[in-house]
């Protein structure tokens, strides 16, 4: 769990070091989400370092992290389309950035079993949005 979160933190660090890319209006909406995610992950890492982590605080932080990503997802995809339509950023740069965001999402999906392990199935439903934790459902 720690390794996955640390890797995600590194990706955010890289993204923020190279942001904004094309200064379009969408990036003004994306920016606070990136900074909040970065801050939240840092806080999570600090808590995980503690011998007796504050699970209530951790729950709040995870909740915010997933909600940030849920808001980021459509904005990032829009950013990708806009960058190509406006022809302001080379397509390889756009693709690289989209790949980075996708890897963050994958990491967030990988974290779900750990979160379930800490908080249980029912509580996790209110921490992690459905599409990150979806398993094969009803069977008729």
């Amino acid at each position: 769990m720690y390794y996955t979160i640390a890797r995600t933190y590194q990706i955010f660090q890289y993204i923020l070091a190279n942001f904004p890319i094309n200064n379009n209006p969408l990036e003004s909406r994306i920016r606070p989400l990136l900074y909040e995610s970065n801050h939240v992950i840092y806080q999570i890492l600090l808590i995980l370092h503690q011998s007796q982590p504050n699970l209530h605080q951790l729950k709040q932080l995870f909740s915010v992290l997933y909600r940030d990503d849920e808001a980021l997802d459509p904005l990032i995809r829009e950013w990708g389309r806009a960058s190509i339509w406006m022809e302001i950023t080379p397509s390889n740069v756009v693709q690289h950035r989209l790949d980075l965001y996708q890897s963050i999402q994958k990491d967030l999906e990988r974290l779900v079993p750990y979160i379930k392990g800490i908080y249980g199935e029912e509580d996790t439903r209110y921490i992690v949005p459905p599409l990150y934790r979806k398993e094969v459902g009803a069977n008729y």
Partner: protein, 822 residues
């Protein structure tokens, strides 16, 4: 008081007397006009307005008057179709429904519950929507329930959540009859809700009230009647409102007592609008500062105010923030919950708000919060299922579902009574996503969307089914069945019950999940679900809805005849366990956690927000120098599936066009009616040009109704699929484009003259000269190449303005051709 006199509009075509008039409600726009359906020999032969219905007193919209032609159209589908070997082929209901069930079960096994998405409509009944909610959420355990309301009025829902904690427009049409001032913000009711506009204009003619402010990028028919018209640059709605709020605060035109007692967050508004001086607002919006000051003065001093919004506010940049800014204005002026005052965020469709109310789209039924464990528990008890069966979290919008279709995460997409292949933005992207997915389409006709369907189910239309609808001001109206549907056709409601039965959905006691068999029984169940919630309908019955010609929710023990306006006690739904949503950050769209919502400590008070302007993402530039905006005509509805089958409506407005300002047409040498190619980074269309003064220079307008795959007139070949961060409503109103005429080149031969080329091509000499940028004398020599339009069409479309006594009023000014001898 509404309407001085009734006027019964009738459109009837019958040889001999009809058999009966059957009680119903118009199924076109969101006004909810009462009507009767004319029936002869089990066939619909006409319609007339219900003169006892308060909403319309007998009047009907031209689309409403002509909606019944579709019922009798010869090309209605009468059997299900299944795609075999690449073509749609007739099949039995058993074959079609069993295939859907097989596919559903396979998707549940391989992808999971969120592999199934419903995409329904704003034109159905509450009973159908409620059944979609129950099947989709409790049966299939999916949270991917969306509808074309996403394109229409999702922003209404989100701005109401944000400010008041719950859906439900605070004011009603009764307030419109009482108000001193009305502001139509991005709302053109003269074309999209003619009966509603006629009601306002009739009072204005009689009493001089209300003072009308219109805000629009186009000089619409509504704007022509306004006392004050604010024509702003595309995508600058929020800049204008920030400018107005700046002046309200600066001049002390606020109700400090109301703000202190009934709101939280006032300091945020002050901070956000401090920089928005009239000068800054003028720079961004293009509206002169003194006009903005005039608007602020009217809004700041009026004793009562109704602000309406529609697609010009919703399908645009900063959509939710714009509507929240309007809520802010009402709250800081204390003009809400009082007679003649309140925001009236409109709907486009006859029952789009109804879909939200009963949970077919958006949150759980009865304004329940999908992020609140208590509300999930309530729903589980009401439906007798396990709480773990009901998915948590907010819904996904259609753009997000299209993305899931693109990456193969949707195994079944069930499309009910809507035509997304004409109505979705950037439709070529959507088409590829649909082609990548198993698609069920429920539609009475073959449409652009059935072209990508794997199964087509033919449902009954208006007049052939019963149920209730919710209009734009929370009125629940009844539709009764006038005729049987043609043989082989089932109602939407019936199709869903059949599916539930075949799937074997059960509650936690092993009993069938759905036990009701008729729409009325379904309504009775819904009433229990709604009890105690904002949209409580527990005191309504079909009989009562008919007797009183519709009632506005809540309709409960305390308000047995409904509620004309919400929040008259100034108590808002912002206690954490009352709220329909914890809301989202207004700038980024990030959903708030319960703790974050609690920390706002609204607890029954309305929430004020700072609103921060963000310009549209795609803007005109060298290659695409124009703005493109899309919109509606008075003569057509949505993608013309119904109105295109009315000979009258289709003859008046048979094809798409592009409106261009006279100055731009002059610069580009475009003459009225000639074929032009409009291109954006996503695609291009070819339509005739209308040269007008109603669009501002630099702006092209294309109506969105037209869009078959072959005629290349769909506005959505051009539009962007960017969405509002809160409501996820697409920004149809702003993207970039270029426009150029489509022409033939002719080489002048020895047998031709400039004059006869003009004559052969139906042009005047001046027009041909203009096209070729010539000045008199128009000399063209043998061997010269000249251009002529590839085609030319008559693009004059008559207006519909009964409140002007059917006065013929030119909707646009044709370009003059001022060629002067130098």
């Amino acid at each position: 008081m509404n309407w001085e006199k009734s006027r019964v509009d009738i459109n009837l075509y019958s040889q001999g007397d009809i058999d009966q008039w059957v009680y119903s409600t118009c199924n076109i726009c969101s006004i909810g006009c009462g009507c009767y359906i004319g029936v002869k020999d089990n066939k619909i032969v006409g319609i007339k307005g219900n003169e006892d219905h308060d909403i319309n007193r007998g009047r009907l919209d031209p689309k409403g008057e002509n909606q019944w032609y579709a019922n009798n159209s010869q090309d209605r589908l009468t059997t299900p179709l299944i795609r075999k070997d690449g073509t749609l082929q007739p099949a039995s209901w058993d074959e079609a429904m069993n295939l859907i069930v097989t596919r559903t079960k396979e998707t549940l096994r391989t992808i999971g519950s969120d592999g199934i998405a419903f995409y329904s409509t704003g034109q159905g009944t509450l009973e159908t929507y409620y059944t979609i909610a129950k099947i989709g959420r409790a049966g299939l355990r999916s949270h991917l329930l969306d509808a074309n309301t996403r394109l229409c009025t999702a922003t209404t829902e989100w701005c109401l959540f944000q400010s008041f904690g719950s859906d439900g427009v605070p004011s009603s049409f009764e307030d419109v009859d009482l108000t001193d001032t009305i502001m139509f913000f991005g709302h053109n009711p003269a074309e999209t809700g003619t009966v509603f506009f006629e009601r306002i204009m009739e009072r204005k003619r009689r009493t001089g009230k209300p003072y009308i402010i219109a805000v629009d990028v186009r000089k619409t028919l509504t704007a022509k009647e306004a006392d004050l018209f604010l024509q702003l640059k595309p995508g600058t709605n929020l800049a204008l409102l920030n400018g107005i709020v700046h002046l309200l605060l600066k001049n002390g035109w606020v109700d400090k007592d109301f703000i202190g007692k009934h709101t939280v967050g006032f300091e945020r508004i002050h901070w956000a609008t401090e920089a928005w001086t009239p000068s800054m607002a003028e720079t961004v919006t293009g509206i002169p500062g003194h006009i903005i000051e005039m608007a602020a003065q009217v809004i700041g001093k009026t004793n009562s105010l109704v602000c309406t919004t529609l697609q010009g506010a919703y399908q645009t940049a900063d959509a939710t923030s714009t509507c929240v800014a309007i809520n802010n204005i009402h709250l800081i002026r204390g003009l809400i919950g009082k007679p003649g005052s309140g925001p009236l965020h409109m709907a486009g469709q006859p029952s789009s708000s109804g879909n939200r109310t009963v949970g077919g789209v958006g949150t759980y039924p009865g304004n329940r919060n999908p992020g609140n464990p208590k509300h999930i528990k309530e729903m589980a008890e009401l439906w007798n299922v396990n709480t773990s069966d009901l998915e948590v979290g907010p819904e996904k919008g259609i753009e997000e579902i299209v993305h899931l279709m693109e990456i193969g995460k949707i195994g079944l997409f069930w499309n009910i009574n809507t035509n997304p292949m004409a109505s979705l933005p950037n439709r070529q992207r959507a088409k590829k996503a649909f082609e990548n997915t198993f698609v069920v389409v429920q539609d009475p006709f073959l449409t652009e969307t059935t072209e990508v369907a794997d199964i087509v189910l033919p449902p009954a239309i208006w007049g052939e089914k019963e149920g209730t609808m919710e209009n734009a001001d929370r009125t629940i109206n009844l539709l009764t069945k006038a005729v049987d549907p043609p043989n082989g056709i089932k109602s939407d409601f019936g199709i869903l019950l059949d599916f539930a039965k075949r799937m074997g959905f059960k509650d936690k006691d092993g009993k069938p999940l759905i036990t009701y068999e008729t729409p009325e029984q379904c309504f009775e169940e819904w009433k229990k679900v709604s009890k105690g919630r904002p949209s409580d309908m527990s005191a309504a019955t079909y009989e009562k809805l008919k007797k009183y010609n519709g009632l506005r929710w809540p309709i409960d023990e305390k308000h047995p005849l409904g509620t004309p306006r919400l929040y008259s006690d100034f108590k808002f739904h912002t206690f954490p366990d009352d709220a329909q949503s914890y809301g989202k950050d207004l700038f980024t769209g990030r959903p708030r956690t319960k703790e974050e919502f609690e920390s706002m400590q609204a607890n029954g008070r309305a929430i004020l927000y700072g609103t921060h302007y963000v310009p549209p993402l795609e803007q005109p530039r060298e290659e695409y120098p124009f703005w493109l905006t899309t919109g509606r005509l008075v003569w057509h509805w949505h993608t013309r599936t119904k109105t295109g089958r009315s000979p009258y409506l289709q003859m008046i407005a048979p094809e798409g066009y592009a409106e261009i300002n006279i100055v731009d047409a002059e610069n580009l040498g475009i003459i009225p009616g000639e074929l032009v190619k409009v291109s954006s980074p996503r695609g291009s269309i070819k339509v005739p040009a209308r040269v007008v003064d109603t669009v501002q220079p630099g702006l092209i307008f294309v109506p969105f109704h037209y869009g078959t795959w072959e005629n290349n007139q769909s506005a959505n070949e051009l539009t962007v699929d960017f969405t509002d961060p809160l409501s996820k409503q697409p920004t149809f109103k702003q993207c970039s484009c270029k426009i150029k005429p489509v022409r033939n080149k002719i080489m002048i031969s020895e047998n031709q003259t400039f004059e006869n080329i003009a004559e052969i091509n139906g042009l005047s000499l001046e027009e041909l000269a203009k096209i070729n940028q010539m000045i008199p004398p128009y000399r063209a020599d043998i061997g010269d190449q000249i251009e002529v339009p590839l085609s030319r069409a008559n693009v004059e479309i008559p207006p519909y303005m009964p409140y002007r006594n059917i006065e013929r009023y030119p909707h646009f000014s044709q370009a003059e051709l001022p060629f002067e001898k130098e």
